[in-house]
Amino acid sequence: MLGKVIALRMVRLIATLFAVSLITFLMVEQLPGDPILAILPPEALDDLENIERIRKELRLDDSVVTRYFRWVGDALQGDLGKSYITDQPVSDAIKDRIPVTLELAFLATFLAALLAVPIGAFCAYREGSRVDRIMSGITTTALSIPGFVAGIFFIWLFTLKFNWLPSTGWNRISDKGLIANLKTAILPAASLALAPLAINARLIRADMIGTLKEDYVLSARAKGLRDRYILMRHALRPSSLTAVTVFALQFGGLIGGTVVIETIFALPGLGTRLISGIYQRDVMMIQGITLFIASVYVIVNAAADFLYLALDPRIRRR
């Protein structure tokens, strides 16, 4: 039963990934301008023979279909092609940049979850109280502040005002150690965490208000268990299904969505590499990074489906 469910979802996952690759390819294909023009220096543009030679060399003269399947076929073997500009393999660029982006995404999700769970649970427990109403105001505000505005505010507060943290740059754990690394990561991560935190605190609150009305919560009370224990051990898990999905979606979104924050804090992440690829019209780089980000998003979503199975034993039977 369970095996069938998993197999079915795997088939769906593969189909989605295939669609993602096709759309990514076609979209980049539709970008205006000839990639060759971006490769060559302006003075070489008159030499038509040379342009044709390079076009042949890069096999850009093949049909769209041929190039697509060649690209996908190579990608399946882990080869996303080489940058036309720098000759760097796209997969190397990703490998080089992904640790920063991944760490930011993880840290932001962790921060959001760490705060959203107790805030949501407490507001549900004290539904309608002053704390609940104040928190509701705060989450609304947090939701309406774009991440980059928060980022700029954090820089003003923690760098300019108090000078506690650096405003830009990145310390690798391998070079400078964890503390130095966190010092550069915490502000961008906090900027990224703000919206997911607000959304999830609200989701958990709403779901938990429903759960707290369940009979099994009353029977847990009648057993003499303490309120905090009931909230965390009995009510949280059934109330977290929506939040888990949204966390997964947000995490997937963060992989690609750190572009602006990475730019503000001048971090060497995937987002800044993608941006520079776009500026340079580096087709292979854009294609490869986009496919990678989209794949991560889709896979994380599928993983959330499996998390459901762990959270709610009743689904395992269906």
Partner: protein, 371 residues
């Protein structure tokens, strides 16, 4: 409300005095429980009987202080041993819940947490109350499941509730309630959600456990058949009030309140040949929001007279230990007279019984205009 002086007052395990629970709702004040008094001796069983909406569930939850929300208004007194339960801080209640007073809920489909394994649900509060270790708690969980006759208890502790049948789940609920050997157990319609074949097993199990542990029990039900052989005393509730209270045998032999009589008729047993009337009570219980003067059962009562619609009867001791709130008690000449009069006048609820009709809606003005 007049109330009995209980014979052995000092020994009582539970004493409820003039207990009322009202809910403020949009439409007004809902009087779910209104001036209820009774007492319960250690080891005894009290049956609380009434239709849905008669206030019996709210009464048991009020005594346990499980009614939540700021729209609940409770007054009166609940003495349990030497404690005044309604005066205790909520933190002190968590030491009483589960340990001294426990409850078995109506629907085992919803009263067990679907995402927590059975073993933990049975033993988690034991760990809290008695401070036993994790391994001891696990051993205890197995023992408890065995004591409520759950087969393969060792593997059952690792199951989730949805993997068990309804009867098994209710056994789990009972195991949870019994885990800390409480002195008082509330069983709120413990068999209503179960198959008929399973109902008796569960009731017998409850009775057996009660005797083994010499625990007092309040058995809440809408079915007089359930409490017949299993309780010492029965309390019949209607519209949030006690309408009749007596020893179990007494209430079956000399039923005094028309509502109790109607409930008895609705048991699908016909060992009383004189009662060949329809097994249904005409009309519906009142909404409990508007305050009606007179007896709240009067619109549905086949014996109701002018006085019943005007003046509310009080709970009176008619024979020693037997309390009834009715102007025309069943079995009295006045009652027979009232019946004849209503039948002649063609009063709906009387006709329903006499001719075997079912009357769903009894017009509100029946009382004032009908007879």
């Amino acid at each position: 409300m007049t109330e009995s002086a209980t014979p052995s007052r000092s020994e009582a395990l539970l004493e409820v005095e003039d207990l009322s629970t009202h809910f403020s709702i949009g439409a007004g004040r809902l009087r779910a429980v209104d001036g209820v008094s009774f007492s319960l001796q250690p080891g005894q069983t009290m049956g609380i009987v009434g239709e849905s909406g008669s206030g019996k569930t709210v009464l048991s939850r009020t005594i346990m202080r499980l009614n939540l929300g700021n729209n609940v208004h409770t007054s009166g007194r609940v003495r349990f041993l030497d404690k005044d339960l309604l005066e205790l801080p909520m933190k002190a209640m968590t030491d009483i819940w589960g340990q001294e007073i426990a409850m078995v809920f109506q629907d085992p489909m919803t009263s067990l947490n679907p995402v927590v394994k059975v073993g933990r649900q049975v033993s988690e509060h034991v760990r809290k109350h008695l401070g036993v270790s994790k391994t001891e708690a696990k051993k205890l969980a197995v023992e408890l499941l065995r004591s409520v006759r759950i087969p393969e208890a060792e593997t059952a502790i690792d199951r989730y509730p949805h993997e068990l049948s309804g009867g098994m789940r209710q056994r789990v609920s009972i195991a949870i309630a019994l885990a800390c050997s409480p002195k008082l157990l509330f069983a709120d319609e413990p068999t209503t959600a179960l198959d008929v074949t399973v109902q008796h097993q569960i009731l017998n199990l409850l009775g057996m456990q009660q005797q083994e542990r010499s625990m007092a029990m309040v058995l809440v039900t809408h079915d007089l058949g359930v409490v017949a052989g299993r309780t010492d005393e029965i309390l019949v509730m209607y519209a949030g009030k006690i309408v009749e209270k007596a020893k179990t045998a007494e209430i079956f032999q000399t039923t005094e309140h028309p509502y109790t009589e109607a409930l008895l008729r609705s048991i699908p047993k016909t060992d009383q040949p004189s009662h060949t009337r329809l097994a249904a009570i005409a009309g519906r219980p009142p909404t409990l929001i508007e305050i009606s003067k007179g007896c709240s059962f009067s619109p549905r009562c086949p014996y109701a007279q002018e006085r019943c619609f005007e003046e509310e009867p009080v709970l009176e001791e008619t024979t020693p230990g037997h309390y009834t709130a009715c102007w025309y008690r069943v079995g009295t000449p006045e009652n027979q007279e009232a019946w004849d009069k209503n039948l002649a006048a063609g009063r709906l609820s009387t006709l329903a019984i006499d001719q075997g009709h079912i009357v769903d809606e009894v017009p509100v003005n029946v009382g004032s205009g009908g007879n």
